[in-house]
């Protein structure tokens, strides 16, 4: 991979982060956009969850992945700490993969 790709990627990635933090935030602090800023992470996380769970539809690891995520979701629902959520989700998928 040539260096220019890495340099442009770095510039773009940092540029977006800084733009959001210092420019978008000025717009969003005004009242009609206030709830938008609060709700944006919610929309993005819901999207990430769906994308990471079902994005690679058809791949053979998807079934065991979804089983692990379901185990993780139950742990979240039971208000388990993050360590337990991660361990349970990973262990469920990993052990199912070894069994199947």
């Amino acid at each position: 991979m040539s260096w220019w790709i890495i340099i442009v990627m770095a510039g773009a990635a940092y540029g977006f982060k800084l733009f959001g933090l210092e420019v978008l935030s000025r717009v969003a602090l005004k009242s009609p956009f206030d709830s938008v800023a609060q709700l944006l992470p919610v929309a993005l996380f819901a999207s990430i969850i769906v994308q990471q769970s079902f994005g690679s539809a058809g791949s053979e690891v998807m079934g065991t992945r979804v089983a692990g995520i379901a185990a993780g979701a139950v742990a979240v629902w039971r208000k388990a700490p993050l360590l337990v959520v991660i361990a349970l989700a990973a262990a469920t998928s990993a052990s199912l993969r070894r069994l199947v």
Partner: protein, 233 residues
């Protein structure tokens, strides 16, 4: 008063523990990235500079995957940039946690505005614990991601695949944990439902990185709902 101090100390300890756990999991994925980057033909230096300077896992994986699939540099850049846009959308919320910081500090902290740090911050009940959690998770993940990349790039496949460890199931679960505290509010539940449906129905038709940007528009009904209710009070 004592109870209050004790409760705060417990919550700070919990924040640090969660940040550490999250960082450790990200570190393992960093190893996988380092391995993949070398397989795609990046040098150890390139893999490490990418993790240090780009620091957005999704973009980095996408770029390396396009290259190893035989795609062009422009194609790699395209999907990486699309996946990086969403970090701008966390800015407005993160800015509130950092109002007390000097502008020069905020410019530095911009580098750690990513899904994980924004999520851990947004899951906290007040601004001070949001700031603390955001910084702890962001810095922890930054260190772990870069150490992981270096290790993976140098040593090669030391841990087996991300799938063998079930980490592909762990990360969506982390985001479920980060989303859960928001689900007490009705606008957030509405936003979650719309964003999930929008993402699922756009994935097959648009390039990688686009579904999440379309899903960002799902905030509109929830935001309208919130401001209507605020006005009627």
């Amino acid at each position: 008063m004592n109870d209050d101090t004790a409760a705060r100390r417990t919550s700070v300890a919990n924040v640090r523990r969660d940040a550490f756990v999250l960082a450790a999991a990200v570190g393992v994925v960093g190893i996988a990235f380092g391995v993949l980057a070398r397989t795609a033909g990046l040098t150890v230096g390139q893999a490490c500079v990418m993790s240090l300077c780009v620091f957005t896992g999704a973009s980095q994986f996408a770029a390396v995957a396009v290259i190893s699939g035989g795609g062009s540099g422009v194609a790699a850049l395209g999907s990486a940039v699309l996946l990086a846009v969403r970090n701008a959308l966390y800015g407005p919320l993160v800015h509130r946690w950092l109002l007390a910081e000097r502008p020069s500090t905020r410019v530095l902290l911009a580098q750690i505005v990513i899904d994980e740090s924004a999520g851990v911050g947004a899951a906290q009940p007040d601004v001070e614990s949001s700031r603390h959690s955001f910084v702890a998770a962001g810095l922890g993940v930054y260190v772990a991601w870069n150490l992981g990349t270096l290790l993976g790039a140098l040593v090669g496949d030391v841990v087996g695949s991300v799938e063998a460890w079930g980490l592909d199931a762990a990360f969506p679960s982390v985001f479920i944990a980060l989303l859960a505290p928001h689900l007490h509010s009705q606008p957030a539940r509405l936003t979650t439902a719309i964003a999930a449906v929008v993402t699922a129905s756009t994935i097959p038709f648009v390039p990688i990185g686009v579904p999440i940007l379309v899903a960002a528009l799902s905030v509109v009904p929830g935001a309208v709902f919130t401001s209507r209710r605020a006005r009627s009070w």
